[in-house]
């Protein structure tokens, strides 16, 4: 005979009692089910409740909002920043990084994982969390949070340090004092501002800029600035910039493609503070035993590969930004991005079209992409699956598409790149001939 617990009443004799106690036993399972239910409701409802309250802010015109951004002179801030990039490229994960490091390694044989340029490609896809701390023009820190490790880029006075905690490697460069001063006006308050400025440069008859209500970003009240292309043919649907109502700092940047769906670039603060960051944040001494790579050591190797070794903090940041919104720079076209791209690539590109439909043209002088038939076999099939064959007045070529940027590589080695759809790209190639 089984023993019974004191809180158990299964001593019942009749069948009715058995049934009743059976029900009572079953009723106990309501508790775990209820716990699951409450948890699911909490997970589902809390964000919705927290989301519902768009802040009430006085009406403001787009012009005033842009001025607000221009006037903002926040010198000190720190915060957590999240960037999600979804270009619709396959997630290459480890393959991608091994490819890039292979490229780095083959040229120099001595690449440092703490070299900032080596980190840039990682930002081009997926979701990343960054931390930003700024204290005036001389001290900034940008950290890329990774699994159980972190990559930090620290600018403190004359020194620029890159520290990769995963491999315990350090990159050291020096910031040109004068340059740092020069950058001051335009570069200081962190990434969203740079992005917004880029976007606002394109304000002309090709673009509509409006204030589209308000939003809460990182717990702060913000205006939403909506930038929409008026032209057709571009793959850019809309750009939304959430601007902090108090300080005029852009807090969130979203780029949605015209094809709809999830945002291509979604970058914004998840937490931000305008207090002075602790001075120790910017102190860095290379840890004992860390491999330190001086800037000069890399330069030779990097130049041989066609990369430029970053020379100053300003350029480091510029390069980083360029990677973040490379696509933006391109379609916002303008002289600036043209020049920058020119510096980075072989020979300066031509720009065809205007506004959102700008298409940059590079002449690689190469042979173009071999078609599947030429390569043959499985590899050929793979190449063909990556791009679409197109023909036009320009000859024939292959179009490689992402959700934002499309590129046409012609068989004679010309490359047309832009945030435009395929037809516009072909048209640009035709007109370029």
């Amino acid at each position: 005979m089984a023993p019974y617990a004191s809180d158990d009443s299964t001593t019942a004799a009749g069948e009715v009692d058995d049934l009743r106690s059976g029900r009572r036993k079953a009723a106990r399972y309501i508790v775990p089910v209820a716990v699951v239910g409450v948890a699911a409701a909490t997970i589902g409802l809390v964000p919705a409740i927290a989301d519902s309250g768009d802040p009430d802010l006085p009406e403001i015109t787009a012009q005033q909002l842009i001025e607000k951004i221009a006037q903002s002179d926040v010198q000190q801030l720190s915060g957590t920043f999240k960037i999600t990039t979804d270009l619709g490229l396959p997630d290459l994960g480890g393959l991608e990084s091994s490819l890039t490091s292979g490229a780095m390694g083959s040229g120099s044989g001595d690449g440092s994982s703490a070299d900032p340029t080596a980190k840039l490609t990682e930002l081009a896809s997926g979701t990343h969390t960054l931390r930003v701390a700024v204290d005036g023009p001389d001290r900034q820190k940008l950290s890329l949070l990774e699994n159980a490790s972190e990559y930090s880029l620290i600018h403190n006075g004359k020194d620029v340090w890159g520290y990769d905690s995963k491999s315990n490697e350090v990159f050291h460069g020096t910031a040109d004092e004068q340059r740092a001063g020069e950058e001051k006006t335009q570069e200081v308050p962190a990434t969203p501002k740079d992005m917004a400025e880029e976007a606002l440069k394109a304000v002309d008859d090709t673009t509509s800029v409006t204030v589209d209500g308000t939003a809460q970003v990182a717990g702060r009240d913000a205006y939403r600035l909506l930038i929409k292309p008026k032209q057709s043919g571009t793959t850019v649907g809309a750009i939304t910039v959430a601007v902090d109502a108090k300080t005029g700092i852009p807090l969130k940047f979203t780029l949605t493609p015209s094809s709809g769906g999830a945002a291509v670039v979604d970058a914004g603060f998840t937490q931000v503070s305008f207090a002075k960051p602790a001075a120790s944040t910017f102190d860095f001494t290379p840890p004992k035993g860390a491999k330190v790579t001086e800037e000069g050591e890399l330069e030779g190797a990097a130049e041989a590969e066609g990369h430029r070794a970053p020379k100053s903090e300003g350029e480091l940041r510029k390069e980083l930004d360029k990677e973040l919104d490379k696509e933006l720079d391109k379609e916002l076209g303008g002289r600036k991005s043209g020049d920058e791209l020119g510096k980075a690539a072989h020979g300066g590109p031509e720009v065809i079209g205007e506004g959102w439909n700008s298409v940059a043209v590079f002449d690689t002088g190469g042979e173009g992409v071999p078609s599947g038939a030429e390569v043959g076999g499985d590899m050929g099939g793979f190449l063909d699956s990556l791009g679409d064959k197109v023909t036009g007045k320009f000859g024939s070529g292959t179009v490689f598409s992402t959700r934002l940027i499309n590129a046409l590589i012609t068989d004679d080695g010309k490359v047309y790149v832009g945030a435009v759809d395929k037809d516009t790209l072909v048209k640009a190639a035709d007109s370029g001939k």
Binding site: A5, S97, S98, L145, S152, Y163, S165, T281, D283
Partner: protein, 303 residues
């Protein structure tokens, strides 16, 4: 279980006293006897010995690897091995973090699975469960005691790994100020404090598995089956956590945020994932704890 049988008569005596004079300390008496039973088993001691051996192996391997002056994992971003392994040669304290990162995905939860899976099913298998229930402790209280014992084992197991790692680290490598993964420096004392905090977080990360194991343990009368099921579930969840197509449900896996303890080594500490981890563990403890209660209090005890 011979020891449990040995304990039972004394329990019966103290239980009579409890009837006369209900003392709140009675629960602790039950807990104490459970703890003694658990930690005196050879099985438990063997598990702890295996856990203690992991940091020793890692420490010696790193020492041999770097004896020619080469740095560990200096091969760039792809260098394998658990987190923090490249730092060990510079500061022995990092061996604590490496050892915890190495044991958390498998060794620690497996040990917890064995203890938790054995908690009820093992007693039933040995035929000692009915004697435990003869004492008027009540099934709920017995279950709580079993869970508390498992949680204590979580903490002890984690501390065994941490202390063993610290000892090996101090013997083989230099100690001193350390660099956080954000690049800032903290004193050795603060580093030790963080190591302790990390050990506590790791122990807390295991409460979800412990509750799951206890629930499985109430389902069967075979201790081996309960252990195997718990460890099997553990492996399954870890595999599912690697499949990118399942990313929508992965945040609700008990193991998803386990390695977030490394965020305690950032400066400032990045709390987001740590809080999520503790939240998930609390959720698992609540759901499977209450499910275990529903099952155990309604179950016919036949063994």
């Amino acid at each position: 279980m011979s020891r449990a049988e040995a304990v039972s008569p004394t329990e019966v005596i103290s239980q009579r006293q409890a009837i006369r004079e209900p003392s709140p300390l009675w629960t602790f008496g039950l807990l104490r006897s459970e703890l003694l039973t658990t930690f005196r088993r050879w099985r438990t001691l063997a598990l702890l010995a295996v856990l203690a051996a992991v940091p020793i192996l890692v420490g010696i391997a790193v020492k041999i690897e770097t004896s020619d002056g080469a740095s560990m994992g200096g091969g760039g971003p792809q260098s394998g091995g658990p987190a923090f392994i490249s730092q060990i040669t510079n500061n022995g304290l990092f061996l604590v973090f490496t050892a915890l990162a190495a044991t958390l995905p498998f060794f620690l939860p497996m040990a917890i699975g064995v203890i938790a899976g054995d908690a009820i099913a093992g007693e039933a298998n040995q035929g000692t469960l009915r004697y435990l229930l003869v004492a008027p402790a009540g099934r709920t209280r017995l279950l709580l005691t079993k869970y508390a014992t498992t949680m204590t084992f979580c903490l002890v197991a984690t501390l065994v790994v941490a202390v063993s790692a610290l000892t090996v680290g101090a013997l083989l490598f230099p100690l001193g100020d350390l660099t956080t993964i954000s690049g800032t420096r903290i004193s050795f004392a603060e580093g030790l404090g963080r190591a302790l905090l990390i050990a506590l977080v790791v122990a807390a990360s295991l409460t979800g598995v412990a509750a799951l194991g206890l629930f499985v343990s109430t389902l069967t009368n075979s201790g081996i089956a309960a252990m195997a099921t718990t460890v099997g579930l553990l492996i399954t969840v870890q595999i599912l956590d690697q499949i990118p197509q399942l990313h929508a449900i992965q945040p609700y896996f008990f193991s998803h945020y386990w390695l977030s303890f490394a965020d305690l080594m950032r400066e400032p500490v990045y709390w987001d994932d740590l809080v999520k981890n503790l939240g998930v563990q609390a959720l698992y403890a609540a759901v499977f704890g209450s499910a275990a209660w529903a099952r155990f209090t309604a179950k016919d005890i036949t063994a």
